[in-house]
Symmetry: C2
């Protein structure tokens, strides 16, 4: 039997420890091709590169996989891999492991998750993985068995059409992780607080900063599961229609 | 009674004809503040600027509104306006008018719609407007009455929590537009076809190109409504959870 073809990407850049760990885990499950950004692309959401050109290079990194570094966004990486690099459709696309959480509302800002969503739009099985640890020397090994198991389960039981997975892993030792909980996206947001500074020429400039505000203590929310020590898995869709309000709005707008 | 405060943004840049038309239409409905990108930001999706700084300037353009030009993405514009520019919460945020369609799957790539979604995340009423005409000298005036009416209706009947509107306008004369249809997002995608070129130094580079593939002829889909001459309105939500599959996936992943 042919080994599954696994496309790996991320948003922290092709040399980030998170993706190198994910590649190592995936090498044990199938044939791995990496197409990932050549620079950090955090917070790029579903951006694509329209007004600039792209270049790519095959680079040589440890392991049996092939590694391609692209000058674009995570979503560009998925599109480019499918059109120009892979010889056949991948059996699954995995993105990450992100350095930092992509739970709740972070899913819409996340390049990691947008790559997974793009793969879903392409009709592929796709999962984004994130660890709740921003540190560059975070310990990704704790989650190895869980990550491999989730990928295996999805290969055996394909996700419903139009759905990809958003997997977040708490910063815990392996024996402290309580298990996997399938959740909904918590109702949360960032409260902006732009940091104003003055440059050497006297002009004001700003850094985007803020704090995370979780407004949702529901037992079925991903933030709750993570705070309780579970790995949260949210099935994410890209049909953004609020179907339940179509008729209601039709009445209002046509009245 | 205080006039409604209307925040206007877009992704084509603050001087694009589409936003200038929208500003003109909104000036008749309320007090308008414009915070929009200082450069084209098409296809930026929900990108935010994390690793670079932002600057802004008040600029002087025709009309009673205030205009602020920001060096960031459409989502940055909404965040920055709320934190640093507006003295009170806007009653509504309108984004556009985009030069080109943001119907169906385009909603996830669109900076115009991501600005509206960000406003929704902030708990505000929000609408993105797009005209199915990429041309810089497109005629936006045909849609004036429809756009003003939709904004007035939303001000009078606030949208359900967690919902913003994606409004697409066909490229038709006013008397050819058949009316407004509230729809669901059509099932469609872009088929990539990267255009490979060789630079003067012999290195390959690529432009993202492709064609649009509408796989959905449903009567209730936005692409169908547009092709029939209607203005399509899709209620868009940012809870991306595929709620209907939470239990099913729980069984599979924990088996």
């Amino acid at each position: 039997m042919q080994k599954p073809l696994i496309l790996v990407t991320n948003d922290d850049g092709i040399t980030a420890p998170g993706i190198r760990n994910l590649v190592e885990f995936m090498n044990e499950l199938g044939e791995v091709v990496v197409v990932a950004p050549n620079s950090p692309q955090s917070g790029k959401g579903h951006a694509i590169t329209i007004n600039q050109t792209l270049t790519f290079e095959e680079i040589s990194l440890d392991g049996p996989q092939s590694d391609y570094s692209l000058s674009g966004t995570p979503v560009d990486c998925v599109k480019f891999a499918l059109d120009k690099i892979l010889m056949r459709k991948p059996d699954i696309v995995v993105s990450g492991i992100n350095h930092g959480a992509n739970s709740s509302i972070n899913v819409i800002y996340s390049g990691t998750m947008s790559a997974a969503v793009e793969a879903g739009v392409e009709g592929l099985q796709a999962i984004g993985f994130s660890l709740l640890d921003f540190s560059w020397d975070a310990d990704f090994s704790q989650a190895k068995d869980y990550i491999q198991n989730i990928v295996k389960k999805v290969l055996e039981n394909p996700l419903p059409k139009g759905v990809v997975l958003n997997v977040n892993i708490p910063k815990l030792k392996k024996d402290e992780i309580k298990g996997i909980k399938v959740c909904r996206q918590a109702n949360a947001k960032w409260e902006e607080n732009f940091d104003e500074r003055i440059n050497p020429h006297g002009k004001k400039y700003y850094w985007l900063t803020g704090y995370f505000n979780n407004m949702d203590e529901g037992e079925d929310a991903d933030e709750t599961a993570l705070s309780q020590g579970y790995i949260s898995v949210v099935p994410v869709k890209f049909d953004l229609t609020a179907h339940e309000f179509v008729d209601y709005l039709g009445n209002i707008l046509n009245s």
